[in-house]
Structure formats: C-alpha cells, structure tokens
C-alpha cells in the first residue's frame, strides 16, 4: 500500500511539503548571502548558519516521521556540514555553499517527487552521489570529532539506476562522482527553472564548466587556512586525493548532539498562514465599508462630540485596520527575486564570467498572483543577460570595461503598473544581425524600414531566439517568446532597449490587479479625480500659463518654452464646472508625453486602493481604474498614459500638431 493511500500520512506530508518549500526557498537565499558576505570579507553570520541548520534539521525530523529515507540521509549530512560551520570548525567556502545548494535542490525535488509517488526510494540514485559529495566536500580535520556515525551507511556509489528512472543521465563509469552529481543536479535545476528552452546550451557548456568551477576555487587560501583540507575531488585534477569521492563510507564529522537536539529544535515558529484569497478580498471590501461608515459618523456627530475620546479612538483604529487589510494581498516582489541570486552565481561560475547582481526595490509590493507569475520570465531574462549579454572578463577588459559585469534588477511601481527591469552592461543587441536573421527567415520584407523597438520585438518571435547564428554572436532571445507569453497573460508587455557594446535593458510591465498607489486628489466642479503621484510632473496655477487655441477647439499650453496638449477635464467629462479663481493645471507624464490637465483644485495626496473598472465597461479610456473615497464616492483614477495619448490624438484631429 502506498503512503498516498494513508490519509493521515498525506495530511502530515501536505503540511511538510508546504513548510519545506518555504523554508528551503529561504535557505537557498541565506546560503547565497553567506557566500556574498564572505566574499565581501564579512565574518560568518552565525545567526544565518543557525537558521540553516534548523531548516535542515526540521526537514530531517519530519521526513523521518514520514519514512522518507533518502530525504533524511541528505538532510542529515547537510546538517552535519552546517553543524561544523556553526561550531566555527569550518569556514563556509564556495564549494560548501555549492553542495548545500545542491542539497536544497535535492530536497525540493524530493518533496515534489514524494508528492507524486508517495515515497522517495526512487531518488536513491541522486541521493547517493549527493551524500558522497557532501561528505567529501573536504576532509574532516579531526576525525575524532565524529562521535556519532551517520544513521545508515550510504548505499554503494555504483548502485544501478532505480526503476523509476528519474535520473536523466547515469554517470559515466570513469567520471568522477561529483562531476556526475553536478551534472545531474544541474540538470535538475535546469528542468525546474526552465522547462521550455535552451537545454541545448546547458549541454554544450555542461562538462567543461563543471571543471571550471572547481578550478576557480581559491586553492591558495584554503591551504593557508586549513592545510589538511584538499581541493574538492575532481578525479582528473586530483587523482591522489585522500578525500576522493570514492571513499563515501567515511563518516563525516557529525555533530555529537545532533540527534539529541531533534526534539528541541523541530518546533519552528510558523511565519505564514495561508488564507483563501477570496476571503481577503471580502475583508477588504468590508473594511472599506467600515471606513466609510466611520467617516459618515464622524461628520454627522463630529460637531457635537468634538474631541470625544471614543470617537478619536474609533477613527484611529479604523485607519489602522484599513492599512493592515490593504496590505494583506500585497507581498513584496522579493519572492520572485529569490531564485535570482543563486541563478547568477551558478551561471557566471559555470561560464567563467564575473557579474555583480544589484537588486533594487525588492520590497516593492505587488499582488500575490504577480509574484508567482513573474518568477519564470525573470529567470529567462537573467539567463539571457548572462549567456548572451555579458562578455567573458578578457573581452570586457579589451573593450575597456571592468572585468565584472553589472546586472541590475529593479522593481517598482510606475503609473499603475509594476515594472521589473533587468539591465546588463554587456554586448548589447546587434540590431543589424537580428534584422539580417529576420530577413533570412522571411519575417521582415527586404527593404522595409524598422524602428529599433520593432527590431527588438522580433526577438520575441517563437523560435527566432534559438537560431544559433544569432545567439552565438549577440542575439538575446532564448525563451523570449515564453517570457512574452507569460507577461501577456497578465496584460503586461516587455520593452527592450539596447546600445550596441554598452548593454541591454529589458523591462517587464504588468498592470496592478490590486494595489495601493499614492494618489493626488483633484477636484473639478463637484467631481473628484485621482491621479497616480508618480505620473504628476508638476502643478501650476492657470493664471500664469499661456494657452494656444487650435482649430477645432484643441488647445496647447506652454510649459517651459514648449507647448504641450491641454485637456480641460470639465469638457472631457461634460461636467459643466465653472472656472474658479485658483484653477490649476496639473502636468502629467505618460507614454504619449506630457499633458496639461485643468482642474479647479488640488485637494491633496492620499493612499488609494486601485479597483479595476467594472468588466461590463470595456474600453474606457482616460481612466486606468477607480477608487472609493472616504465619503463613499467613486473616484476615477486618471491615467497619464491614456490622457497624454488622448492629447496627441486631439492634436492630430484638430489640426497641425506642434
């Protein structure tokens, strides 16, 4: 009987799977941070090491309860390694981080595998070499420290592949074991992060790169610090090494008290509870109602009860409750960025490139569904930036650039959209090569003139990117059509800019499905409109402005020696609002340029929940959404992009454009 038929087991496993995925995701991040810190010369963060230890320990404990033998073994050995780091016995080098990352990958894969099959016996073939790698990562300096042997002797390294056939490539017999592991694990990673594309590239670079990683290890430093440590075993490079992976039976330096601590440490505080999104939405609506009711109460009884403590308290609590609820569906984009550090580390090491990843705006809050959706496109774009954008150090130096490339990953809100930008300072896109390739494939007619952005859009043609001629020289685009599809699913788009020799920049823009923006509240007659602060360029009293009338009633307004389209909101919405003394022109910046918008008053600034326009009203221009004001009225959120386009269109129709 499979475990999957046992409801109790399934229940425990489901919880285990969810917690483990979370915890392992965080663990990976922590590992990369440890390495980054170390490279920057910072002392080892003992707190981080302890949390890593706890993660593996918890996984091991629950996996043991679920009788997942392979999972327990891997977690156990990872834990042992960390115990040595924790005790200060070991400084975490890159190779340690690498095997620990591989252990994380294994455990994540194991959770998925077990979810499908009910046990992890089939993972035997990948667990065994991994365990060997963890143990063999370097010598235990003091074998005497190994008081407790591992829970079970690892199965023979040369074990035949199991029937389940999970493992893509059995290691060639003469290959050093850890190279085989690297290959297997790398492939597993590749599969996990990238189902759709570029297996080819990995295979191309596969083996030699694995060796490169090892060669890149700072051997000198190792020997200075711990003279009896050996290089990680690459049979070809260090055939005589005593720490050869062919001796996996040797017990590693297990922390003596590891098993004894299991009970004490396995109870980790849960940081997250999962809630049905529909409930959160309902709560948001209810709180919105509460805020409005509170506002009404305050207005109606406020005069009589000026300064009443209860009323003030009610106002304050309501406000806080509103803030809190608003934030519930929003999560930092960090989740989507989590994989990136590891990815950059692994890819650059493999390819012998150097890159510094700068991440900006990780705390940008976006709707939860977006974080999930943006993960894959991000991975594709980063791979492209490293594979095709960044040059090898020598080439960079020859081009007068620093040897290490800079990858800049930025997230933020702009004009009611979330944008995520990946910028590199590599080769850039060779427009002519792309164009030539497109002509070859008949995508572009000979002799037709294309703008740069048209040319870059060609990269998103399915199949275009994988063309060897382009990828070899300059072309971005492995999996670019996948990126585009993913982003378009969320009504988003991808923008590309590039300068040959200077780098490229890919920007994903996705509209917010639900988000809070900083809005500027404007009044026209009795109506109030909201504009995203981020689109407001400036606001100037009308009295100071020069207005030019065009045929057809169109108008332009002067903004610093330049005439820009001018829209009177009262006319646009047929409000019949009278001009007032303090009339003010708000200049909005959108994709169609700057547009001046006439309003009666700027009321102020406030945070607003964007609500989408009702589905029964397709194609509303000028507004990107709406929000509900404190008094319960609906306020349109004017969209600078649409208004600026509208302004241009007016000019086009009304007469000569400026």
């Amino acid at each position: 009987m499979s475990n999957l038929d046992d409801p109790e087991w399934v229940e425990v496993f489901a919880e285990f799977a969810e917690e483990s995925r979370d915890a392992l995701g965080r663990a990976e991040e922590t590992l990369i941070r440890l390495e980054t810190d170390r490279l920057a010369g910072a002392p080892t963060n003992t707190e981080a090491v302890a949390s890593l230890f706890r993660t593996f320990h918890t996984v091991k404990g629950t996996a043991g309860f679920l009788a997942l033998e392979q999972t327990v073994h891997v977690a156990h050995d990872a834990e042992n390694l960390l115990a040595r780091v924790r005790s200060g016995e070991l400084e975490p080098e890159s190779r340690h981080i690498t095997v620990l990352c591989q252990a994380v990958d294994f455990l994540v894969a194991a959770v998925d595998h077990v979810g499908k099959t009910g046990d992890d016996a089939g993972l035997h073939t990948s667990a065994t070499p991994l365990i060997a790698a963890i143990r063999g990562v370097d010598d235990a300096p003091e074998p005497a420290a190994a008081l407790s042997p591992p829970p079970a002797p690892p199965p023979a390294a040369a074990a035949p592949p199991s029937e389940s056939g999970d493992e893509p490539v059995p290691a060639p017999e003469e290959a050093p074991i850890d190279e085989a592991i690297d290959e297997e694990i790398d492939e597993a990673i590749d599969e996990a992060i990238d189902e759709a594309t570029d297996e080819a590239i990995d295979e191309e670079i596969g083996e030699e790169i694995d060796e490169e990683i090892e060669d890149d290890e700072p051997a000198l430093e190792d020997e200075e610090m711990e003279p009896d440590l050996e290089e990680p075993p690459v049979a070809a490079a260090a055939p005589a090494s005593p720490s050869s992976p062919r001796a996996p039976e040797r017990p590693s330096a297990a922390k003596p008290s590891a098993t004894g601590q299991r009970q004490a440490e396995s109870a980790e505080v849960r940081e997250v509870i999962r809630v049905d999104a529909a409930r959160v939405d309902a709560l948001l609506n209810m709180v919105g109602e509460l805020v409005i009711a509170e506002n009404m109460t305050s207005r109606e009884v406020g005069q009589a009860m000026q300064g009443n403590r209860g009323l003030l308290q009610l106002q304050r609590v309501t406000r806080q409750l509103q803030d809190l609820t608003m934030s519930m569906r929003m999560v930092p984009v960090r989740g989507a960025f989590r994989k990136t550090r590891r990815l950059v580390r692994d890819l650059t090491q493999r390819q012998g490139k150097e890159a510094q990843l700068i991440v900006i705006g990780e705390d940008t809050e976006v709707d939860k569904s977006l974080v999930d959706a943006l993960g894959d496109p991000l991975v594709h774009l980063l791979r492209n930036a490293i594979d095709h954008g960044l040059e090898p150090p020598a080439e960079r130096l020859a081009a007068g650039k620093p040897a290490a490339g800079v990858l800049r990953l930025t997230a933020g809100h702009q004009g009611g959209e979330v944008f995520i930008q990946i910028e590199d300072d590599g080769r850039g896109i060779d427009r002519e090569k792309v164009l030539a390739r497109a002509r070859e494939r008949g995508l572009v007619a000979d002799g037709s003139e294309l703008s740069d952005s048209d040319v870059y859009q060609l990269l998103f043609e399915p199949g275009f990117s994988t063309a060897a001629q382009v990828t070899d020289v300059s072309g971005r685009g492995v999996g670019m059509d996948v990126v585009k599809r993913n982003v378009e699913r969320f009504n988003g788009r991808v923008q590309v800019t590039s300068t040959l020799g200077r780098g490229s920049c890919m920007t994903l823009r996705v509209p917010l499905t639900l988000a809070i923006i900083d809005g500027m509240l404007l009044r026209v007659g009795t109506e109030r409109y909201t504009v995203p602060m981020i689109q407001v360029r400036e606001a100037v009293p009308l009295a100071d402005m020069k207005i030019a009338g065009l045929p057809g009633g169109r108008e332009l307004i002067e903004l610093r020696d330049e005439f820009v389209p001018f829209i009177r909101l009262t006319d646009l919405f047929a409000l019949g609002a009278e001009p007032e003394q303090q009339d003010i022109v708000v200049f909005l910046e959108g994709m169609g340029g700057v547009v001046g918008v006439l309003v009666n008053e700027v009321i102020g600034q406030q945070q607003t929940v964007i609500k989408p326009m009702p589905a029964l009203l397709p194609g509303i221009t000028a507004a990107s959404g709406c929000c509900i004001l404190g008094d319960g009225r609906v306020s349109l959120i004017l969209d600078g992009n649409a208004l600026s386009k509208l302004g241009r269109a007016h000019l086009g129709r009304g007469g000569k454009a400026a």
Binding site: L284, N285, M286, G288, E289, I292, E527, L572, F573, A574, L575, K611, M613, P614, A615, L616, L617, P618, I620, T621, A622, A623, C626, I628, G632, R633, V634, S635, L636
Partner: protein, 172 residues
C-alpha cells in the same frame, strides 16, 4: 392549448419551478418578475436577475461611453456601472427624484445598476416566448396585459451591455 402548454412546460422546467406545479397541466407556469416604471410605462424583468434595490446614489460620470451609461456608483465597496433605463429605451430623459431608484442586477457574476423611475411590485407573469424573428426585437422577452396597459418584459443582458445585443432602431 395542449401542444403549446406542453412546449411551455418543457421550456419552463429548465427555469426550475417546483415540480408539482409543473405537473399540473392546466396551470400556465409563471415566472416572478419585478415590475418598474420608466417614462410612465410599466416594464418587467425576471426577478432572479435582481440582486437588490437601492435608492439613488452619487454617480461618478465617465467619459467616452454610451450616453445611457450614466457612470459608476459604490455599492458597499463594489464599483458598479449604472445604466439609465429611460435613455437605454430611447425614451425622454427625466430628472431623478426621490422615487428614482436603482435595480442592481447580477448578470454572469457582474453587477450592473439600472436606474428606473420607480419600482412597482413583484408579479407572477406567465412564461411565454416571444418570436424575436418576427418582432426583430431581441431586447424583448414578452408583453403581458396589465389592467388597461401592458407590461413589457425586457432582456436584462440587453439592458446591461452596450455591445452584445442590438438596441432598438427606429425602423425596427
């Protein structure tokens, strides 16, 4: 009568009246309708589409929409578009007064508010079928005598949406 009744019965079964009622062949099946006035004339709409009736609300006007879409209102945190029934029916626009109210319809999970002069009552109207080919009026669901006038039953989807159904044309 018998053949027609049979047809009606089978058509009505899908709308889900109580089984015992449908079994009595001598009773014409009835459907609950909400009757409201627009421009002094009674109109009907199937009650199952009606979610609630609220008094007049502040309206946020829109730009670049059909004239009969008056704007948006806030219904307990939901933003609901409003259709003015008299404009939708090509009747003369009327000023809103204290009897003006909004019938909130729920259509395919979407809400839409229908501004009417006043709400009359709920009645059971016989289920009939309108030959839309002959009348060429897909907004029409049926016409039922009511005292000295007639209740015109409307298609709620036609009322609520601008594009999916044909508006009555002068030469219809």
């Amino acid at each position: 009568m018998t053949q027609m009744t049979q047809d009606l019965l089978s058509a009505d079964l899908e709308l889900g009246p109580p089984a015992d009622q449908a079994a009595r062949a001598d009773v014409v099946p009835k459907i609950r309708h909400l009757v409201f006035d627009v421009g002094g004339k009674p109109f009907g709409i199937e009650l199952r589409h009606v979610r609630e009736i609220v008094g007049m609300q502040p309206i946020t006007p829109l730009h670049d929409v059909a004239k009969y879409i008056r704007g948006l209102m806030n219904l307990r945190g939901h933003v609901v578009p409003l259709v003015d029934a008299s404009l939708r029916l090509d009747l003369e626009a009327r000023d809103y007064d204290e009897r003006t109210c909004i019938i909130v319809l729920s259509l395919d999970q979407h809400e839409v508010g229908l501004i009417v002069d006043r709400v009359q009552r709920v009645v059971d109207l016989p289920a009939t079928e309108v030959d839309t080919d002959r009348t060429r009026a897909d907004y029409l669901r049926g016409v039922h005598p009511d005292g000295d006038s007639a209740i015109v039953c409307l298609d709620p989807h036609w009322l609520a949406t601008a594009s999916s159904a044909r508006a009555p044309q002068p030469n219809d």
